[in-house]
Symmetry: C2
Subunit: 501 residues, 2 copies
């Protein structure tokens, strides 16, 4: 009789206990997920009612795209090569919104890699351009007479070459290939990282005498500023090797003159477009050099700082890190100059874990870099990630560049996903968008938002990324910049709500 | 006069200051790098003099391989598809050492995916096997008479089909293709994750009636244990769906009988090879089900626990997470049973950040999983990584599996690199090595060591990974296991030193 009463009670107790466990687990589950959401970049942003409405519209578009990809991975573009889906992106309604979105600043871009191959092609229609076609390479030179520079075949006027080719369309199409990395079957053409870097660097070599013709140099920069403004960017910090410029009269212009050109163009641009907030220069010469040359670089930097205190943001070294000289080789020289310049070093644009290029990140940190270019590899350095966060060193992430230059294939594996999850100080930039025929900034934002970030990441992330690009800039009056950004942002939000509600 | 004296002093002071900055930076650089090295998995291991000598040998081999790849990325295999380099690995001297190395336990493997396609092919030579060739699929059945099961063409004796084909070699080569994922041009054949998963799951469907013939089932498991032992593994925890077995007399054997078969084979094996330390079973049925079925699974699990308390390690659910039912759907049922079973859930074998398959990781954690299978996506969950570490939940990483099943291309981007850098409780395993024609464990160790881990990671990592596989096992007398491991390890070290010094 006793057991008859006790057994059901025991069973009941056990069921109650089991139910308690379930409730506890559900509670813990929700707590952990919510806490993680709160840790993400952007989750300190508080949305207004209008932003909340706009967010719903944006998230509906984002989730539709993700659902479609999740259910049909064969059509999920972002796991493929950028060249295979870059044109599809333009059809996305969400992409159009992101184009319209005020995106703050571009803080990591190289001055001669921003505009499209069509634009570069149009420059070859300028008068007085000579060309030398060699088997693999092309040389350009603006000149009033036949150039005396070495040419394995023969110099000829571009105009002559083009119109004597018999087929201008075909001629231009062939020529255009030198101004882009975009190709069919990219995975078969670019079989390893050195192959794509070689083509990438060849672009800069090929175009150097085209761009360093002073009138073109100035035109290219003016049109860069215009392209950024058109892409809803309000401010720029641009890296340049500051090449020697030339003109038709045989004059040569050194790095200081080249910077002066930038200053002049910028002033003109700001007169025409006073709603643009300006540009600064990061002097960033090549890293394949010795200490003596770095000292010379720093001397030039010092002169730039004296002559153009408002223009110069600071100093960097560029070139493929795996093949270049590691920063630690220059540590003494760079340490000695560290109180004179802001540093913006490229570091860790590699996936060779534990090598000297991987460890360039630590040098950037001890040299008190204000921002680090790429830092792709920092994800494998938990301590350096903490240090970057603590010292508030921004990471300039260029997702499209990293996939085109073969650091990562499926963009969902880009370490940016980790940076966002840990609320690292990230700014999104575009590196050399002209070479992959992307918009100056919008493609990088779009892919970050839809391809890399969590499905839960919403308009707060987009706003924070734009704000970060202003906050981590060296613009002297950030209050004004951010005030203006807020005005534009509110307008953007209102337009979304009006158009979609 | 005054300035004549003071200026040089000021210059000197400035030079001294600059030199101080450099010294400070160098010190800080070394401190940060060293601190990070100390944080890595394995850096608590203290090496004996012999281990130190062996380490030098191993690191010389490793660095030579890495240098070659760094200088010639076109030949750096681990950035390519595993199928393109798996045969090259066998030529590596370092790989031979890793094969000889005692590697502890295999803790994440599926029972019918371990042995090679050649082995599976050999099983088709057994008597009484019937076959039905359909356009895309093959069906097998052992039987004394013509099977009555549906077949779109016609059942025939395998022997007859093979020898009437006119070309046995070609026949076998075609047949073998059903038992492997390995193919030429894998990136063109497996265009997205669902394509490769579909072929992967088709293997298990095709082979099911072959393997579930009771004599083959027992033979396959015996030979699995042998293959593991040959690969210097001393203990196994194997996942099984525990299918219904059959024999020629028309008998059917349910999950409990299937487990009994394992027990019987294991006992026999341990009699023949008393130096092997045994095996346990993780009952891991398919996750494409409803709550009612999960309850039935758990009932079976309970019966297994009662009948074979020493054999059953615990419970899991298997199948492609993105397409299966998320764990949270079963949270109540699994919570209710959580005090009865150890859990070893697959979770986060996805790169869809923020989706329900991604969030299976949090369910595994709140359900107090003892280990998590894959947890590939946990890298994007900083809080869950901390929780896993704090609660000492091991992560069962299967690098080769993850690259073959298209979660990551360049293995250097595998999140394992991050796990190692943060000293997460990692165990290395192999999932289904037969399907990619890899060794039972050595390929995963080798690729982890050379392809994924830091260049600085040395023998301490290798030893720690092997020790972790024992420590995070459910073997009841770990002291004995680890004692035996240490004996074998010392022998291994002595042999390296003798052979290479």
């Amino acid at each position: 009789m006793w057991t008859v009463i006790v057994w059901p009670l025991l069973c009941l107790a056990s069921a109650v206990f089991a139910d308690d466990v379930f409730k506890k687990n559900i509670k813990e589950r929700n707590y952990l997920l919510q806490k993680e959401l709160n840790m993400m970049l952007g989750n300190d942003i508080v949305l207004s009612d209008s932003e909340d409405q706009a967010n719903k519209i944006i998230m509906k578009l984002k989730n539709n795209e993700l659902d479609y990809g999740f259910n049909n991975p064969q059509y999920f573009n972002y796991s493929k090569h950028f060249f295979e889906y870059k044109d599809d992106i333009k059809k996305s309604e969400l992409f159009k919104l992101i184009k319209d979105m005020p995106k703050g600043a571009v803080l990591h871009a190289h001055d001669t890699g921003i505009l499209s191959p069509d634009y570069v092609l149009s420059l070859t229609y300028w008068d007085d351009l000579f060309v030398c076609f060699e088997e693999e390479n092309i040389h350009f030179l603006f000149s009033l007479e036949l150039p005396k520079l070495p040419c394995k075949t023969a110099w000829q006027l571009m105009k002559h070459a083009r119109y004597s080719s018999g087929n201008v369309k075909k001629f231009d199409a062939e020529l255009r290939k030198h101004f882009t990395l975009v190709t069919k079957d990219p995975n078969q053409v670019y079989t390893d990282i050195n192959v794509v870097w070689s083509k990438f660097q060849q672009y800069f070599i090929t175009t150097s005498s085209l761009f360093s013709y002073k009138p073109i140099w100035e035109k290219y920069f003016y049109d860069t500023l215009k392209a950024l403004r058109d892409d809803n960017v309000m401010y720029l910090e641009i890296r340049s090797v500051l090449p020697t410029l030339y003109d038709l009269d045989g004059n040569k212009y050194d790095a200081i003159d080249t910077a002066a050109s930038y200053k002049k163009v910028l002033d003109t641009f700001l007169e025409v477009y006073p709603d643009f907030y300006g540009a600064k220069l990061i002097y960033a010469p090549l890293r394949f050099v010795d200490n003596k040359t770095v000292k010379e670089y720093l001397k030039i930097a010092k002169e730039l700082k004296n002559k153009f205190p408002d223009l110069l943001a600071g100093f960097d070294l560029v070139g493929q890190e795996d093949l270049g000289v590691p920063t630690k080789e220059f540590l003494q020289v760079l340490s000695e100059a560290s109180d004179e310049f802001e540093y913006f070093f490229h570091a860790g644009e590699t996936n060779w874990y534990g090598t000297s290029s991987d460890e360039n990140i630590v040098d950037a940190i001890v040299l008190k870099a204000r921002r680090i270019g790429h830092a792709f590899a920092i994800v494998k350095h938990p301590l350096l990630m903490e240090e970057a966060k603590e010292r508030d060193i921004a990471i300039e992430v260029n997702v499209v560049s990293n996939t085109v230059l073969k650091l990562v294939e499926d963009i969902r594996n880009h370490p940016l996903a980790v940076f966002l999850s840990k609320n690292l100080p990230v700014v999104i930039s575009s590196d050399d968008p002209g070479l992959w025929e992307a918009d100056p900034l919008s493609h990088d934002y779009y892919i970050t938002f839809v391809g890399v970030a969590s499905r839960h990441a919403d308009i707060k992330l987009l706003k924070k990324l734009a704000l970060n690009s202003l906050y981590y800039s060296t613009f002297p009056h950030k209050d004004k910049l951010i005030h203006e950004f807020e005005i534009r942002w509110t307008k953007f939000i209102d337009t979304i709500v009006q158009d979609h509600w």
